[in-house]
Amino acid sequence: MEYKLIGKNFTPPDIEAKVTGAAKYAEDFQADGMAHVKIFGSPMPHGVVNSIDLGEAEKVPGFLAALVPDEVKQPGPAGFPILSNKPTYFGQPIVAIAAENEQAAADAAAAVKVDMTLLPFVVDPLESLKPDGPDALEGGNIASRGIDFQSLKWTGKDFAMVGEDELPRGEAPIEWMFGDIEEGFANSAVVVEESMVHATNAHQAMEPRSAAAYWENGKCHVWGSTQSTSFAQPGLARLIGIELSDLVFVAEFCGGGFGGKATSYPLMALPALVSKKIGGRPCLLRVSRVEEYDNGMARSGFQGWMKLGFAQDGKLLAADMFMVQDLGPTSGFRDYNNVGIASTIVYQPASMRFRAVPVLTNTTPKGAQRGPGENQAANMVEPLFDKAASELGIDRLAIRRINAPGGGGADAKIGAAQGPVTSAYLKEALDKGAEAFNWVERSANSGMQNGSRARGYGIGQAYHSAGSNGFDGLVRITPDGILHVHSGVGNLGTYSYASTSRVVAEALGYDWDNVVIERGGTQKHIPWNLGQFGSNTNFTMTRSNYVAAMDAVLKLKEIAANAFGGSPEDYSLENERVFKTSDPSASLSFAEAAQRAIEMGDKYAGHVLPEDIHPMTQASAKAIAGTGLVGVAKDNLEKEGTVPALAVGFIEVDVDLETGKVEILDYVGGADCGTVIHPDGLAAQVRGGAVMGFGLATTERHVYDPAYARPNTRTFYLSKPPTILDVPLKMGWVATDQPDPQNPMGMKGIGEPLQGAASAALINAISDALGGHLFNRTPVTTDMILNAAEGLPQSHKPLATNTV
């Protein structure tokens, strides 16, 4: 279909502020009389506070107030407290100090004396599962959404039954299966069985999670760093202990989130609570990089075991997986779940059993990080496909093609229930990517040596669910003819807040220059939108914007029919005018129609609203009622099945066998994201996702000292995100550009799997350069490469976590 705006590049309205420095992030908030907040973090990984002595802190000139755990609301078991009397990880905030300036706040925080008793702690999930292993929290070591907080120990026999290099597999609270795996393995020509470890790693957004707040006239004003302007609000109000309607929230820019700032989080509420204590005075909590590493969430790691059975042609007949997830000290995120789901959609196994145990540890709290579970799955499973291809004597592209869902995905199945998907073109993405990369010809050079350098090639695939439904859209045409699209989606840097708003302009036939996007906080009267996470924005927001646009279309026609007679169906829209199809002279400009909407009032101007919209949308619509023609609706469009975002990556590397250095020579990323809505934006995501993937594959990891449970990777230098010198000079991209039938304009999301496809491809390419050596550990570090190249044993135990 030919679109005027969809599929075309544009300049996102907020980008100029980014290049001039005018963009205001949470930490850029400044106010008269602003106080500074600093935290006193736990000096131990698990302990109980016996007493807090503020005597010395209060003497620091400029000290204003201290907030202690007893004064703040506490969450349920395995929750994530704002301040805690029973810290469960190193650096967890115990006391917050407000002072006249940041120096005084820091001095006072340093002068706080907390008497604590150390409690048992653990950083390795398997240690906690041992019969006499420590629990990370008093009273339990297992928790997750849907699993009650409890203690789970495996038997000595569970551990004794396997060797040191195999994951023990005791009782698992999560288990599902479909098909007959015994039969599948019996019919398999090749069975691959491996145990593996995936590290945890920090989100490392460039902007730490700073926040600012003040109170005025009973309302709490918060400046926060979040991916999700609307979706973050109910939780933030809950943390602060106020009604949603008493929250004034500003979140115009977010300096990186990657899942770590998906919604709101405890630290975001802290300045508001401290401010309340000092009469509502503005408070800024500037979070340092080290505090960000301690409290800023991280991707969960895994200790895993997998057995895959393949037919001679490469078809996956049976998959058996067992995952132990490092959950951190809170109920965290169900990454384990996504390992299983991703495997079902990407490889379409004929039969599968999946078991998992999420285990609490005294490490930094874990949250979703770009492709949570799905991208770890890519890094763990994809190498096994290379091994199987080698044993079966088939090409690595071929073994992926034969299993990949394609042709629209009518036969594709997903999840334990083997449900349908809305569309799938993974096979096509593989084909397009392989062609752009010239896989067949180039991969023939695999293993080629040039001095100490060995050439390697790799393919990776990844999945993430990419769309939701049931959220609201809110648009408005003002009497000056301007179209206002109200968006609460957030501004993570994908520009999808803008590209999804273009759907409204497309549907109404608007010139993009006449469109204003109202976003950035409650003051802009935003509707209830899903957050900017889970690769869902393109699918979810285009739907909700579309239904609001359709509501505006209908109202425009009704207004015209009211003016010129006939029924709404007799009218058409073009060039920002509504006119009688049979007599174009009977017409109103959108500006005139907006004026009439105000005069007609009622639903036309937003005085009467649909009943099924969210209270947030109700409030926002009421606030703009009477200022123009208001289009507002809940997305009740049909949705059946899971929306899959699917990505592939092709990579060429040189591995220096003498230094272990990996040089990425070329990369092509491919996306099945439905209709391409914004090509430049997609290109940026394909490449940016790949860069994060390169870090995930080779350098990034959280390391907690197993003896003291202290974090040892609290700098960029040690936790190492890729720099410009770690990535190839040019990176290519392709997209299938096949519309998803359940989105009015064919879009679905893509952000997350772009990372997993790249990381898996890189891991596979390194293995390829080393003659197919399987590391079964992510990241593949320089040290590991050198040991493998020299045939030396690795310096860590096979299933150890927190390795360097």
């Binding site: 420095g21 007893d70 006249e100 004003h221 809950r238 998906a262 860069v691 720099t723 990535v727």
Partner: protein, 227 residues
């Protein structure tokens, strides 16, 4: 809502007020006015009023307490920022990033790490890039400092680097962008026709977690063409 999205720690909290009412400890409730000042107004107020400088005390330097007994004569410094010289009262241990952000209100300069690792705080001193988070203000008292706010012309015309970064959709989250802009402008000032390798080296002090390197690099090359 439980069905959507990533880990939301707030779901573990019951709605309603804080368990204990937080008592107001001091001060009466008054009207707080966020300083949505234009840069020009702020700088004017800085220049015209000594009290603003002394009053905006929310500086942060190091964990060592700032000494009140530091002789005031040692603290006064003339600082040339974006072509204008200002007289400021700055403790000897204050970093340039702190001075720029919290005394001069030039919040375009970001602090990503505060430990010379990321380049978010990059500014120019006599044309060379420095990490302002790890440079003491007193050290650059005789240098000309240029921040991201000083890159565009006075009439608001964007520098070719800024325009090219926009054209290439180089910024994603934008937090590293001010540093990338300053680094690219400094590079092109010294080397108007860099090879792509030279441009890459010129930008190598700036970490971008969004991974937009390719786009910043293309933007820099495009700007070089247009210069």
């Amino acid at each position: 809502m439980e069905n959507y999205g990533p880990y939301d720690p707030t779901l573990d909290y019951a709605p309603g007020p804080a368990t204990k009412e937080i008592a107001v400890e001091s001060g009466k409730v008054q009207s707080w006015k966020p300083l949505h000042m234009s840069r020009r107004n702020f700088l004017r107020s800085v220049v015209c009023s000594g009290t603003v400088i002394a009053g905006s005390g929310y500086l942060f330097t190091t964990l060592a307490p700032s000494r009140a007994d530091a002789r005031s004569v040692e603290r006064l410094v003339s600082l040339n920022v974006n072509g204008r010289t200002r007289r400021l009262d700055v403790p000897p241990n204050e970093t340039l990033a702190t001075t720029l952000r919290y005394r001069l209100g030039l919040t375009g300069t970001k602090i990503g790490c505060n430990q010379a690792e990321c380049g978010a705080c990059t500014v120019m001193a006599n044309g060379a890039t420095i990490y302002s988070c790890s440079t003491l203000t007193h050290r650059v008292r005789d240098k000309e400092i240029v921040t991201v706010e000083g890159i565009a012309s006075d009439d608001g015309t964007l520098h070719p680097v800024q325009q090219a970064f926009m054209d290439e959709i180089a910024p994603q989250c934008g937090f590293c962008t001010p540093g990338q802009v300053v680094a690219a402008v400094a590079l092109l000032n010294m080397n108007p026709n860099p090879t792509i390798e030279e441009a890459r080296m010129g930008l190598s002090g700036n970490v971008c977690r969004c991974g937009a390197y390719d786009h910043y690099l293309r933007g820099t090359m495009k700007a070089a063409e247009r210069l």
